[in-house]
């Protein structure tokens, strides 16, 4: 072993370091597709537009005065229609509730409260929406 030169041992060490690094990277990359897929799915599946649509269609009926003739009938018809539509188009269970005696009012408006319940199996969503009614 007389003529052997061990000055270059750092090359071997670097080799080990790089190999370990690549091994760890490979493991991380292997995990990545699953994470990416489920995250993207969760973002894509939030039914933002569906909920906005429901709110848009329910707000007019929430603005009706408590003394409107046939109010209960109107609400029930609306409920049946909206439930059937939500199920047919978005596979969602929805229901709503309107409180016209919240007692919230300011100079120009009184506020009725519209409770929307929405559930499509992935997203369960409840919101309280204050509908302004001009006094």
């Amino acid at each position: 072993m007389e003529s052997l030169d061990d000055e270059g041992q750092w090359i071997v060490l670097m080799g080990v370091v790089v190999a370990t690094g690549m091994f760890i990277l490979a493991i991380i990359i292997n995990q990545a597709p699953m994470v990416g897929q489920s995250t993207a799915e969760a973002v894509l599946e939030f039914p933002k537009n569906e909920i906005q649509d429901i709110r848009y269609h329910l707000a007019p009926i929430a603005q009706l005065d408590a003394n409107t003739t046939g109010l209960i009938d109107k609400e029930n018809k609306m409920r049946a229609d909206m439930q059937a539509l939500s199920m047919a188009r978005n596979n969602a269970v929805m229901d709503f509730d309107i409180d016209r005696n919240t007692g919230f009012e300011d100079l120009f408006y009184q506020y009725n409260r519209l409770d929307i319940h929405y559930n499509n199996g992935v997203t369960t969503y409840d919101e309280e929406y204050s509908v302004p009614v001009r006094l």
Partner: protein, 267 residues
């Protein structure tokens, strides 16, 4: 290197030839051991990783089916690499012993007891070296080993129960195909849903619903469905068993059953 690296040590007996032979022997021995023991292990893990890759592929396929059915998109193409086996399509209209289906009993609005049958069909991957059979059936991904009892659910279908409305929503996905088709290598699976989804039932009124699963003779996924229905995924506490492969739901006040028919155009 210094001539005598330990002072006073005599290196007359140091031979480069013997040193080389020793190191060469160690290297050859190492290669032999890896070939003898490591290679079969590597192959084993290759089968395992193929199955895992296919599991992910089947989840991708299930996601595409979800887009097709739940998001009302008419056509969908999925291209995937099939490794270590091949993928088959099973038509839901088969009437022989290999057919598997769900049966649901419920009360319709008139108070009469109704019984509906939903044939499922499936997209099924069968591993060529291992014994795994992974299926996409009824919007779920289920897996089993052919020589073993039992099965597991890899990805759930989208059945759900809304606690505040007491509403149970069941989706059934039937897979149809005109011909027997299979694919391996790179498979391009073309799916379509041209018939609108059918609302089989939308009934209100407090009632119990009975669901029964009739498994395929050779590909029995009943354990997977049992664990899914009796676990807490749908309802807190799960469904109650009511005989073999028969499950009773807790009292619900609204039941919705929707049926989708997906056609596999080509693989």
């Amino acid at each position: 290197m210094k001539r005598n690296w330990v002072k006073g040590m005599n290196d007359d007996g140091v031979s480069e030839a013997i040193g080389f032979i020793l190191i060469f022997t160690i290297v050859v021995l190492g290669i032999t051991i890896v070939t003898l023991y490591g290679y079969p292990l590597l192959q084993q893990s290759q089968i395992g990783s193929d199955e895992r890759i296919m599991e992910q592929n089947m989840i991708t396929l299930q996601n595409d089916l979800k887009i097709l059915t739940l998001s009302n998109v008419p056509y969908r193409d999925t291209t995937m690499g099939i490794s270590g086996g091949s993928i088959f399509v099973l038509d839901s209209n088969r009437t022989d012993a290999d057919n598997h289906y769900f049966q649901v009993w419920y009360n319709n609005n008139t108070g009469a007891w109704v019984n509906e049958t939903f044939s499922l069909g499936a997209l099924r991957f069968i591993s060529s070296q291992g014994q795994a059979a992974i299926s996409v059936e009824n919007g779920a991904v289920v897996k089993r080993y052919q020589d073993a009892e039992g099965s597991t659910m890899v990805a759930d279908p989208r059945w759900f129960y809304d606690a505040s409305e007491d509403a149970l929503v069941l989706f059934f996905t039937e897979i149809e195909a005109d011909d027997a088709m299979s694919g391996d290598g790179i498979a391009n699976i073309q799916m379509s849903m041209l018939d609108p989804p059918e609302v089989v039932a939308d009934v209100t009124g407090s009632q119990t619903i009975i669901i029964e699963y009739f498994p395929d003779n050779t590909f029995d996924y009943s354990t997977a469905w049992k664990n899914y229905l009796m676990g807490s995924t749908i309802v807190e506490g799960g469904f109650t068993p009511d005989g073999d492969n028969r499950y009773r739901s807790p009292n619900v006040s609204r039941l919705v059953i929707k049926k989708y028919t997906v056609k596999i155009e080509r693989i």
